[in-house]
């Protein structure tokens, strides 16, 4: 375990592109959060910013972070496709790693990356919360902080999907293209042919619903809009009620397991 993780660290931490993407992730996230803090300052009408206060800030922080999960998925894609491109999976097999261990190493690295991004989201949200909350007697700082854990699962799910695509396609550029296209038009197109009850269980739908938009945005731009567009646009609640969070969580974890199991199966079957 420790060995596999250490190997991943040697490989990735000396890789410039890894730092570029990871740095981009952190930079963009922090910048967007700062902008969100500033945007409403000039707006009259909304005197306070409830979504920047505890406990709402956890929802806001994780929701914004979820937009950048694609970058985490791309880090994983690049890392896996490099192993194919450099044929280093092959040389590591020759030295005595098993095919399972090749994937396990990526899994451990995924967990590590998810922990780091969760910590960053935690710190940024915490600082913003402290700045914007007017602490009263019944302020509950950590009420919604379980969302951090949900975000953690989501980050892993994105990376698991990235790994799965990279293991199938084996080429960084094509994998990234497939990943992004699947996220935006492809799954949406697939979904629209199916009844709504089935639609809800598609991977991207499930995984992105892990971190729903904070209440304040429900009327404006939000991922929920996408859902509404493909069916009838109704004024009230969507025709099929959103799945409860615990179901979404369970299905997401099931997807993670499926992505890993499928990747292991493919790696075992193919020549390296």
């Amino acid at each position: 375990m420790k060995k596999l993780l250490h190997l991943e660290l040697i490989k990735n931490l000396s890789y410039t592109n890894f730092w570029v993407i990871a740095g981009l992730w952190a930079l963009l996230y922090v910048l967007i959060m700062i902008i969100i803090c500033m945007i409403n300052i000039g707006l009259p009408g909304i005197e306070s910013k409830p979504y920047l206060q505890f406990p709402q800030v956890w929802s806001m922080g994780t929701w914004i972070a979820s937009f950048f999960n694609l970058l985490l998925g791309i880090i994983m894609i690049v890392s896996v496709s490099n192993e194919f491109a450099f044929k280093t999976f092959r040389s590591q097999m020759i030295c005595g790693l098993t095919r399972n261990q090749l994937i396990a190493g990526k899994g451990l690295f995924t967990i590590l990356l998810a922990v780091f991004s969760m910590v960053i989201v935690f710190l940024v949200s915490l600082v913003i919360g402290i700045i914007y909350t007017n602490f009263g007697s019944e302020t509950s700082i950590f009420e919604k902080s379980y969302l951090l854990l949900v975000y953690f699962i989501q980050a892993i799910a994105y990376m698991a999907m990235g790994l799965f695509i990279a293991v199938i396609i084996r080429n960084a550029a094509l994998s990234i293209l497939t990943f992004i296209l699947y996220f935006f038009p492809m799954e949406f197109i697939l979904r629209s042919f199916l009844p709504e009850t089935v639609q809800q269980f598609f991977p991207v739908k499930i995984i992105s619903n892990l971190t729903p938009s904070p209440d304040i945005f429900q009327l404006s731009a939000s991922p929920q809009m996408v859902t509404n567009i493909n069916g009838q646009i109704s004024e009230g609640a969507p025709p099929v009620a959103d799945l409860p969070l615990n179901i979404i969580l369970i299905v997401s974890i099931a997807y993670i397991v499926i992505f890993y199991a499928a990747s292991v199966m493919i790696i075992r079957k193919r020549n390296l």
Partner: protein, 317 residues
Amino acid sequence: MYCKIAPWSDSTIHKIQINNKVNAVLEINNLKKNYGKICAVDDLSLRIEEGNVYGILGPNGSGKTTTLSIIMDIIRADQGSFSWFGQVSSVEIKRKIGALIEVPYFYPYLSAEKNLRIIAEIKNVALSNIDRVLQLTHLSERKHTRFDAYSLGMKQRLALAAAMLGDPQVLVLDEPTNGLDPEGIAEVRQIIKIEAAKGKTVILASHILDEVEKVCTHVAVLKKGKLIASGKVKELLDSGEKIIVSATDSDHLQKILSGARFINNIERNNNDFILVLDAPYTAVDINRFTHENGIVLSKLLTQQKSLESQFLELVKQ
């Protein structure tokens, strides 16, 4: 005194039995691999024993790399089986084997040292070993250079260094001198010889006959995936001297020649006889032998075939 003998003799019997099996470092049975219509490896069986320096010789595309890839588990065979040390291949066994298959594969953006560190960790080898193999391959001075900034020959040396990490019992080398300068080639051969002298088993794939002849004890010749000859290098490649004799009475000569014990093979070509002699005998012995038997030779020629032509002949069959 007597008490000691019983258990002692017991254990020797035991050892002998085990040795019979353990001696086979690698056993390949009826291996087969197809790529579409192309048969890359065709019903190949080999037995490589401890301490052998075993050459796998064959022209380009004869299936050497495919065979080595199968025994290192990176390509799945369609049929057949192989065993290392009498066991099914496993992670533990792999760590006893240092392999260099075809082109060296490393992380291009990592230094030579970091690349070796990855391999050392996989093999559970002490990091101090890295300096040893870098020195052995004369790369110490450039160990902090990125792999992609290495020259072809340096890359090949690094691959050899990686194969030797942890002082493995078996070296599997696929054209290890590929891309090296003459000095490098000599060094690599020297390294192989030193390892062999330590009792290591070396499996060496090559299309260069000269290389196999210089460093190997045993050889298997492949052609289009098929094994066409195998055995000790000396026996297989050194039996090249042919002697051509003729006399006025060919039939009499034939009778006499067939009575000579030291003649391995007789071939008649009209009035000429083409002979292959056993090891220490030469044309002098033939001349003396026929003379003693009352025949005067009208022709006595020795023909030393070049190894190259022998190899080509083997492959042509």
